[in-house]
């Protein structure tokens, strides 16, 4: 109350200078945020609309080739058996890789969470593949799993793991489970360290074995972390691109479309066959699918996480 009267009673000169100060602050605010906002507008918001626009045209390397608009690109993508293969491949990949990297990541986190000598060494060793470049990792894995490579030699096998359609998908699952499990480990580690000691002390007094303690106490207490990882790494898996591109030496999906995943399909439509309209439509369709899955996850898993 006192301040209001003071302001009202204040001479108009002061009020004007306060308005001036506010204006100046706003000016600097816009100025500071200008370049970032321009970058986001130009390279995120505008491309979003542009992609939608392109998707309704016949659009090739020379630009629009017909004046008519329509949903023909969408029809073409939705009826393309190769796109169906790409969707099936990414579904199989995600369903396989997410539980695998979560199980691996949780196991590693349990190791790191113990009082053991060389803890920092183990943590660094387990986490390092997560931050190494995908190109180097894929190159190294292709070397070790080549037909006359180290893996086949150790196990006395003769398989071309990344060269044949029946095994290449599993190869990519294994490779990415290996590299991503370090990141999963970091998330689980944070949750494990948040579990109070007295919970375990109670279990220890009851003489509960460590295996039982884990399944009856630790695992259920990690429920929020399970859901968090499911969402984050599930959505992350749908972005698969680098590894199959490098394995197949391009976005062709070789061998037999076994390495064809949605983003490679989009890349191939754009830069393999230069059908930009088709690529844009495929991009929009896949965006809608991923966005829909995100919403569904938020509504189901997200609610559980909060509970």
């Amino acid at each position: 109350m006192a301040t209001t009267t003071a302001t009202e009673a204040a001479p108009s000169r002061l009020r004007a200078s306060m308005a001036g100060a506010r204006l100046r602050e706003a000016g600097w605010g816009y100025g500071f945020a200008l370049v970032p906002l321009a970058v986001f507008g130009l390279f995120f918001v505008y491309p979003f609309g542009y992609a939608l626009y392109i998707s309704f045209y016949h659009w090739g390397i020379d630009g629009k080739t017909s004046p008519g608009t329509g949903t023909f690109n969408y029809a073409k993508v939705l009826h393309d058996p190769i796109f169906h293969t790409a969707l099936r491949n990414i579904a199989e990949y995600t369903v396989a890789v997410v539980p695998l990297e979560m199980a691996l990541g949780l196991s590693l986190a349990l190791v790191i969470n113990q009082k053991l000598r060389g803890r920092n060494f183990f943590r660094a060793g387990f986490y390092f593949p997560s931050i190494a470049s995908s190109v180097a990792i894929t190159t190294i894995v292709l070397f070790i799993f080549s037909q006359n490579g180290l893996f086949n030699h150790i196990f006395g096998l003769d398989k071309d793991w990344f060269g044949q359609a029946s095994t290449v998908g599993w190869g990519i699952v294994g490779m990415n489970a290996w590299t991503t499990s370090g990141t999963v480990m970091i998330f689980y580690l944070a949750s494990l360290q948040a579990i109070p000691d007295d919970v375990y002390e109670a279990a220890a007094l009851d003489n509960t074995g460590s295996w039982r303690t884990f399944w009856k106490i630790t695992f259920p207490l990690l429920k929020p972390a399970h859901f968090f990882c499911l969402v984050v790494f599930g959505i992350g898996a749908l972005k698969l691109f680098d590894q199959p591109f490098l394995v197949a030496g391009g976005a062709s999906g070789n061998p037999a479309y076994a390495t064809m995943y949605p983003i490679l399909y989009i890349y191939n439509a754009a830069f393999g066959v230069f059908d930009f309209g088709l690529a844009a439509a495929a991009g929009v369709i896949y965006f809608v699918i991923v966005f829909g899955l995100t919403i569904v996850q938020r509504l189901t898993v997200g609610r559980q996480e909060a509970a």
């Binding site: 491309p47 931050i131 470049s133 180097a136 970091i186 691109f241 030496g249 983003i263």
Partner: protein
Amino acid sequence: MTSQTSAAERYIPGRARSETARKVLLYGVYLAVAAIFLTPFVWTLATSFKTLPDSLNFNLIPHPWTTAAWTDLWTNPSYHFPTYIKNSLFLAAVIVTCNLFLSALGGYAFARLRFPGRELLFLLVLGTLMVPDQLRLLPIFLMMVHWGLYGSFTSYILINLVSAVNLFFMRQYFLTIPRDFEEAAKLDGAGYFKIFWRVMLPLALPAMAALAILQFQGTWNDFFWPLILFGQGNQDHYTLQLGLAQLHSQFQQQWPSVSAGSIIAILPVLLIFLAFQRYFVSGAVSAGVKG
């Protein structure tokens, strides 16, 4: 689980010996797992010091030992490796600098300065996280072609000047800094830029260190956007990751050279990781996940 049951074990006599045995067994398992995780890197490092015929053998120790693959990468003109390394370092340096400055400046504006529409604009910044790369790739490619920037470093730098993740990260950090520091500077008559530059930036140094490290890793490892913007045969502009992919597909059986190239592609990030481990670990949570 040692740490979990140790409370009980302390009270039960006679358990000490079986406990030791268990520990040894556990260490064995851990070392085996760590070995599996690191064998690919060790094997690659060993191969890079082998001769070409020896690279098909399965001895870990090179016989004979040679640095030929390494010198070859530097001197063989068909490999272009020094150019790739220079390109990657240049792009990483420029992009890290731009991101540091612009995300701090923008983060400060969104954290502290009041301007109409601020909350709405901030939602827009966060909204960019929803726009996936596969939707942007074609429009950005066409825009760069249209502007005559396709295949230039400028195109790659422009789209990476600042990221929403970094701006958000800096804003959150600025929000944790007490206002007292700015108020004191304001009373001294300092302008907004001076407050930002002289007061806020020095206080935000830990956050900026983390940002620089993670952004360096992201740019150094990036494969997708360099592939889109200068992957179509313009070898002068190849980054190290593009160059390594090229080396691998073109000289597939030259395992010693390919191995040396892989080690170079990993090495800078490995060194930074070993020096600043805690930044990576804390950054994993905010920076999200590799695809």
